[in-house]
Symmetry: C2
Subunit: 123 residues, 2 copies
Amino acid sequence: MIDPHADRALFRQLADLLRDRIAAGEFEAGDQLPSEAALGQHYDLARTAVRAALGVLRGEGLVEPVRGLGWVVRDRGEPRPVRLRRGDEATVRLGEGLPQVVVTRTDGTTEQYPADTVILRGT
Amino acid sequence: MIDPHADRALFRQLADLLRDRIAAGEFEAGDQLPSEAALGQHYDLARTAVRAALGVLRGEGLVEPVRGLGWVVRDRGEPRPVRLRRGDEATVRLGEGLPQVVVTRTDGTTEQYPADTVILRGT
DNA sequence: CACGATTTGTCCGTATGTATC
DNA sequence: GGATACATACGGACAAATCGT
């Protein structure tokens, strides 16, 4: 499974494995992954490496941590279409958690969506 | 500076401080921050906490690490305007490094930009 | 409502590898 | 080659949130 002598970092190898397991449907939206401790034992890794791997998947929007509970697989359905009309603007705000798409309409109102849940369309 | 008894985590307090110092112009685009070791000594924190703080700023697109060199302040100029015409689509791709805005034109060609460097405009 | 078990969040120390200057 | 700096990885510890009993 994980090769300590491989060129690729251990936490990246683990991220690859977990990503594949999720893609294979082993875990569905809302499901919890095995605990960090369980993953560490199973793959013989320190918790540091396990958390680094989960951090990678988190950055990809695949999973998110719930304190006191575990790591939950995010719901990734079809991106929701959002139309950008004349005068509308959209930017991506980085920072807290998942990047957010902020749409500013002509009248000054704003809408906000998790960046990986929308597809912006011109009109 | 940093209060070990504060409610806020140490690495978040450090992130706040460094963010402020950057905003104040103490470091400009292309400048290097003090090394992780130096920051740890100055603020009396373990390197773990220092790296966590830098990770926060990295996620905000403020700085990026350069192996063997140090942490460099990113160039954050005016976001570049990108027009979305009829049939054009834009999505945000998460994963490797900074999130990327991917624009797919009607003719099938695609353009890609770091997510915090563009402002999408409807037509 | 109280309590314990589980799980993630934060923090420390240490060590080694690798890239840059 | 040597010095510096980030990348990765291990170990241990305690706090805080959640959930079932």
